[in-house]
């Protein structure tokens, strides 16, 4: 029955212009950066450099595309997540979900998975785009895998925060703006605290934990951080909705 909520969420994303616009825009941006990346690779690598300075095409183009992806998602996720609960709150359609034989956990998980599935489509496209270079050259699939996993965890974390903020208000636009600000703050936390990279505040920065993935390094600590982040915000959302039910 969770699957039903996921399906419904996906369906409403695809039946609103927002879903298609975001999807098209993201593909356009990533496609452009991919092409520019490939183009630059050949310019940079043609002759001027000595062989030992060369880096693989996967890392070169990947940096380009995955670098921009994490940044663009910062805008895209709040746009998509803002509606999740606040819109239903405004339209009072949460009653349908709450009077169905579903626990609040299932409702929240369903909505979260719906959004993450939608965003996964984008990520799969990116992965396919970069892997397509395999047609004419050797591609470092390990690098791609690590980046895709990192991006996916990052986007899922964004979504978890987005759904929580969306559960706090009945104004989707307000939810969108707050989510954006919060995500932005979390991303650049370590920029402000550059002097002291060991501080706990810097440790909270999402970017800090995404960065190793983008270099192709898989560390369970970073992995655990993202999972913890997601669980925390989903739990907060569940508790928030439960409190609503108790009060009225």
């Amino acid at each position: 029955m969770i699957f039903n909520i996921v399906r419904k969420e996906l369906k409403s994303l695809f039946s609103s212009p927002m879903g298609w616009v975001v999807l098209a825009l993201l593909q356009f941006v990533f496609g452009t950066f991919f092409l520019i990346g490939v183009d630059q690779y050949f310019q940079t690598m043609s002759g001027a450099m000595r062989p030992e300075q060369r880096i693989g095409i996967t890392a070169f183009v990947g940096q380009n595309v995955f670098g921009i992806a994490s940044f663009v998602m910062l805008f895209a996720v709040p746009l998509l997540s803002m509606r999740l609960i606040s819109e239903e709150r405004r339209q009072q359609t949460l009653t349908f979900l709450f009077s169905a034989p579903l626990s609040i956990t299932e409702v929240v998980l369903g909505k979260f998975l719906g959004l993450v599935s939608f965003l996964s489509i984008v990520i799969v496209f990116i992965a396919a785009m970069i892997s397509s270079m395999n047609l004419w050259t050797e591609v470092d699939f390990g690098y791609i895998f690590s980046n895709v996993l990192g991006l996916w965890l990052l986007v899922a974390s964004f979504s978890a925060l987005g759904i929580y903020v969306s559960s706090l208000t009945s104004q989707p636009v307000v939810a969108g703006i707050i989510t954006f600000i919060a995500l932005f703050a979390l991303l650049i936390l370590d920029h402000f605290l550059a002097g002291d990279p060991t501080s706990t505040m810097a440790y909270l920065s999402l970017m800090r934990h995404f960065e190793p993935f983008s270099r192709g390094l898989l560390d369970t600590k970073d992995f655990a951080y993202f999972i913890l982040f997601i669980i925390t915000f989903l739990t907060l959302t569940i508790r928030r909705l439960d409190a609503d039910r108790l009060r009225g």
Binding site: N4, R7, S12, Q91, Q92, T95, A100, R245, G248
Partner: protein
């Protein structure tokens, strides 16, 4: 037999406001039950508690023997609620919405025949593929009724289903609901049209300020109050001696409550003696509305 609805000592407070102050109510399976009461009496609050949309401050509620909190899955499977407000999901058409709703209850494609049947019975057939946004108010109401029925619940609760619905649908709707009731569904409704409750429902609960002030069969409630109403339009004020019988007045129009037809004659003779002319007169059978006004206006 397990009662369809069992409510024990339920209280609900909103901050300082006591919306429900200790409700006890048992509704048997197969009943056609009416919940009446003035605005703010707590009818919708009670229904929302049954649906699990809010939690009671104290007390227990069960649907078909399943506690609405402990066994919420079974309880909600057994219950279909038509909400009072017109709420809808703007992205879907009627049929999609019904299928999704049934899906929440774990019903898959095998339920589609039933979905098509309720669409047909509620006169929504030509609107089945229209987006919810583009339906008129009355049609949205029908769609909401369909939505509550989508998973074939044995207990159906309708919170003012006929508000904003035209005469034709109202009849169609009642025919449909009566049929469901005959087929064994328990039906609970709230309405402000008392004649509806009177003709349809076998048992009535009247609520006021969060309490049940009357709970009986419709027939017994009607027996409780004086049998007839005498409406008089007089040329001057009503004689003082007749004031105790007065139920309602407006300019020189008076409504008197009589226990029996034989009282008509003495009343008229007193008016004659006071040399007041009777301009118009009507004898009306007392109905549920009188019971209602009687009970609700009591301090």
């Amino acid at each position: 037999m397990i009662p369809a609805i069992k409510i024990e000592q339920v209280q609900k407070h909103y901050g300082a406001l006591q919306a429900l102050r200790g409700i006890d109510l048992t509704i048997e399976q197969g009943e056609f039950f009416a919940l009446l009461g003035p605005n703010g009496a707590g009818k919708s609050t009670l229904i929302n508690l049954l649906a699990g949309l809010i939690k009671p401050t104290s007390g227990r509620l069960a649907v078909m023997g399943f506690d609405v909190q402990a066994d919420y899955r079974q309880a909600r499977h057994a219950l279909g609620v038509v909400p009072q407000e017109l709420v809808f999901d703007p992205f879907f058409n009627v049929r999609e919405m019904l299928r999704f709703q049934a899906g929440y209850f774990g019903r898959g494609p095998e339920n589609d025949d039933w979905v098509d049947e309720i669409i047909e019975c509620l006169g929504l057939a030509d609107k089945a593929h229209t987006n919810m946004r583009r339906l008129s108010g009355g049609m949205k109401r029908r769609a909401l009724i369909a939505q509550a029925l989508a998973h074939r619940p044995p207990v159906i609760v309708l919170d003012e289903p006929t508000a904003g619905v035209d005469v034709e649908l109202r009849q169609m709707l009642w025919e449909f609901i009566k049929r469901l009731n005959r087929e064994g569904h328990t039906v609970i409704l709230t309405t402000h049209y008392l004649e509806e409750a009177e003709t349809l429902c076998s048992r009535v609960a009247m609520m006021k300020q969060g309490q049940i002030i009357a709970l009986d069969t419709t027939a017994n409630l009607l027996k409780k109050i004086p049998g007839k109403n005498l409406r008089l339009k007089l040329s001057a004020a009503l004689p003082e001696s007749l004031r105790p019988l007065l139920r309602h007045e407006e300019a020189f129009e008076y409504m008197l409550a009589l226990t029996d037809v034989t009282q008509v004659e003495p009343v008229l003779s007193q008016i004659r003696q006071a040399s007041i002319a009777v301009e118009d007169m009507q004898l009306i059978e007392a109905d549920l509305e009188d019971v209602f006004v009687d009970l609700v206006s009591k301090p």
